[in-house]
């Protein structure tokens, strides 16, 4: 036995989880929602994903090399890929290519690595990148494509590419609109289609509702837009939100994320939205629309729960979710922006370190007394 014995600290065993695995599980949980996106919004999401992934991974790779890390971290923590996927879903489906790339580079280089890389960033990288784009280029960032079933047949790959690269954009948009029209005609509900929109891109329902808000006209606006299950926009958003919800529940079941942040966030949103709607139904949207439209479930399960920028302590997580919910509803109901996930996430991220310091965990045995054994 002349072998030198290998030495290591205890414990000598580990379970199989790793940072990369956690991140990849989150990506897998997003896949159903991405497919629904593809179904309702066409090929735009595919190119968003492609551009985001390439630019994020290249940026991450360059910065890892510059910081003297090995490139296999790209796979080992997979965090850049997750940031790319989240940003790709958050961006409008036909975002110009340069905006996508700028957003990704900003997210990875400035929001993440300038603060010390994975585990040290204060703000959620994807949301940082998104807000950067939203403030710098408000118009293209609020121009969404209308939801139509089987939209991948209308917004085809070549059309999406040409729109994204701004080659013959108007013509391609028009073609897509025509196809959508024809497609729907065969399905025998042309009236709904005509009633819904007159072009294939436009402002989202939330933006339109925001415009109606000063006129105290929201309630009748909803009636005019026929926001029920026969409406494509509503149906599409309902499906996508449900898939985010399902993905989120799967993550909770597989113990990738904790239920506290999404639950407290959603409860806060529901409570505030219901109160506002009860008080002034003409000014504020009903609770169901708050949950369905925009990125409410996406934010609750996939963005707020980013462990680096959240609070992992049980009580802290609840407080974190409540603060995020309050900011979210303040912006949506009283602020200038139609959707509020990105801003509420960033503002709550800023509170996270303080919440973390101020919340304590009950120590083992803090409540017990020596006489406990005699307790009746």
């Amino acid at each position: 036995m002349s072998h030198t014995l290998y030495q290591e600290g205890a414990p000598h065993d580990a379970n199989v989880s790793s940072t990369g695995k956690i991140m990849r599980l989150v990506i897998y949980a997003l896949v159903p929602a991405i497919i629904a996106h593809f179904y309702f919004f066409g090929w735009g999401i595919v190119f968003n994903l492609l551009f985001c992934l390439i630019s994020s991974l290249v940026t991450e790779g360059i910065i890892l090399k510059l910081r003297g890390h090995s490139l296999n971290r790209l796979w080992r923590d997979s965090s850049a890929a997750l940031t790319a996927v989240i940003l790709a879903i958050a961006l409008p489906p036909l975002t110009p290519w340069y905006l996508t790339i700028i957003g990704c580079v900003f997210a990875i280089a400035i929001v993440k690595h300038a603060f010390g890389g994975l585990g040290h960033n204060i703000f959620n990288p994807a949301m940082g990148g998104f807000v950067f784009l939203l403030i710098s280029a408000p118009l293209p960032m609020t121009e969404y494509i209308e939801a139509v079933p089987n939209n991948y047949l209308n917004v085809t790959a070549p059309r999406a590419i040409s729109i994204i690269f701004n080659i013959n954009k108007e013509q391609n948009l028009y073609n897509a609109y025509n196809d959508a029209y024809k497609h729907v005609i065969t399905r025998d509900d042309a009236d709904t289609f005509m009633a819904n929109f007159d072009a294939i891109t436009g402002a989202t329902f939330l933006i339109d509702a925001k415009h109606e808000q000063p006129k105290n006209n929201v309630y009748s606006f909803i009636k005019v837009r026929m926001m029920d299950l026969s409406n494509y926009t509503f149906f599409a958003h309902l499906v996508i939100s449900s898939l985010f919800l399902l993905g989120g529940i799967a993550l909770i079941v597989f113990k990738v994320i904790d239920f506290r942040i999404p639950l407290s966030f959603l409860l806060t949103v529901i409570i505030i939205a219901s109160i506002c709607y009860e008080i002034a139904p003409n000014t504020y949207l009903p609770t169901l629309y708050h949950l369905t439209f925009g990125a409410t479930f996406f934010g609750a399960f996939f963005i707020l729960t980013d462990p680096v920028t959240a609070v992992p302590k049980p009580i802290g997580a609840v407080i974190f979710g409540i603060i995020a919910g309050i900011i979210f509803m303040l912006i949506r109901n009283f602020g200038g922006y139609p959707d509020a996930v990105a801003f509420s996430v960033l503002l709550t991220n800023a509170c996270a370190p303080l919440i973390s310091i101020l919340t304590k965990r009950r120590e083992f045995g803090a409540k017990s007394h020596p006489g406990d054994i005699y307790e009746r």
Binding site: M1, H3, L5, Y6, Q7, E8, G9, A10, P11, H12, D13, A14, N15, V16, S17, S18, T19, K21, I22, R73, R76, D77, G117, L118, G119, H120, D258, P307, V308, A310, P312, K313, S356, R361, R362, E363, F364, G365, A366, K367, S368, P370, D372, I373, Y374, E375, R376
Partner: protein, 544 residues
Amino acid sequence: MNRWDRIRKGVIFSFKGGVYPEEHKSAHVFPSHELPFPKKLVIPIKQHSGVGGEIIVSEGQHVGAFEPLTASNSPMAIPVHAPLSGIIEKIGPSLVPHPSGLAEMCITIATDLPAMQVKYNNPNFPLYQMENPATLLDHIKNMGIAGLGGAGFPTDIKLRSSVNPNNPCELLLINGAECEPYITCDDRLMCERAIEIVRGIKIIQHILRPKFTVIAIEENKPQAIMAISAALNEEHCEKARVTSIPVKYPSGAARNLIKIITGIEVPYQARSSAYGVVVQNVTTVFAVGRAVLLGEPLVKRMVTISGDSIRNIGNYWAYIGTNVRDILNACGFTPDENPRVIIGGPMMGYTLPNANVPIVKTTNCIIAPRGQELKRLKPQVDCINCGRCAKVCPARLIPYELHDYCITEEHNLALKCGLKSCIECGCCSFVCPSAIRLVESFREEKAKIKAVKRKEEKLKIAKERYAAKRIRVQEEERLRAERKAQALAKAKALAELKKSQKDNTQEDATRALKGAEKDAAIAKARADAQAKANTSSKTNGDTK
């Protein structure tokens, strides 16, 4: 249902945290075996937590089996005994099982042939019911019994703190949980020596007089549960029951076990005896039984030898002092590249830098894993605050936060964050997705805090010494000044006397003498005042 009903009926509670590592307990099916007769035994004189005793034997002396080798009056020192008869070959430092390969004082015995063994007779108490608990406790100490669950705390001290009538033992908890993976020696011992364990329990019951006794066994040991239950009936051990508890690591940690059985959380700053509970490991109880009934000191214990690099895994009876390398070779050790030899379980044990070390009282398991049987650590990456460590911490700490304080050497914050409550169970490191060595950093921080404390104490002593020296020097100066003033005054007086003698006037002379005395007194007063002023200003300076 009140607490006692629950305890009596075996209704259990659960504790927060804990992990479920792979069990690897295949060695539990193998009945225990004797190892080959050792030719040489190396007995470290300190094998428990406390202090070592003084050696009472000398080189070249022949000792009998069970003969004490050390003795001490200190309560924290418990003796070691010769497991076999033989000649003392060497007394001196030798490698002991320790993660850093320390050498400590050891006694090496060249054993006699098996047929020529001589036994030293220790007192025994077969009729222990007639004995005073104090006598039995002294005997337990003299037989060298320390907690065999792993910590090695002197058993007699633990028992003594509950003999006190102001702080009686209400519940005796026998720990047969054995929650660490691989280790099966307690399981085997309970299966094979249930009667002797129950006799040990009865002795401890006689000493402590608890209201009730619970033997807690994890439910993955059905044979042990049956054996102990049967033995309790057979030995008519009353007010006792076996409670099976769910499999979870670390339910065998004393405080977690108390929580499971009674629902009481004993804080880490308090002794469990203050809460009326005494926890003893089954192996310790077995050793107590043998020591009291047969007068056999703790010289032999069951050790689990396991791991894929071992051909004949199983449970073996090993004499204290047997060489680990010899044991491994006897069991068919076939090392792979970078072999690991782990003493203790995979969660809390340590890798040996050198296998040429003896078995000690607290060695319960030797693991020689092969390849990825026990996963080798991945390179560490940065913490992502996922909070998994906090979820599994059985001490309800927040390890990721504590880790931050440890690596930035924020000693006070680390202590505030509960560093002292950490039992180093390894759950946090086990689940960490970033492969951060949390437990290692906590151990390091504990050592650093200890070093800082020692340094501070040293500094305090040095300061006190310096202040004392300064006062002494000032006192000397003052005395010297006083003597000088007196001498000067005397000289002056003499000079004046001579002068007056020249003048031949008696009156002048006497007057001069008086004047000189006055001068001396004034000078002395002045010197005193000055010295006082000096010291006071200096001491003020000190306090500032």
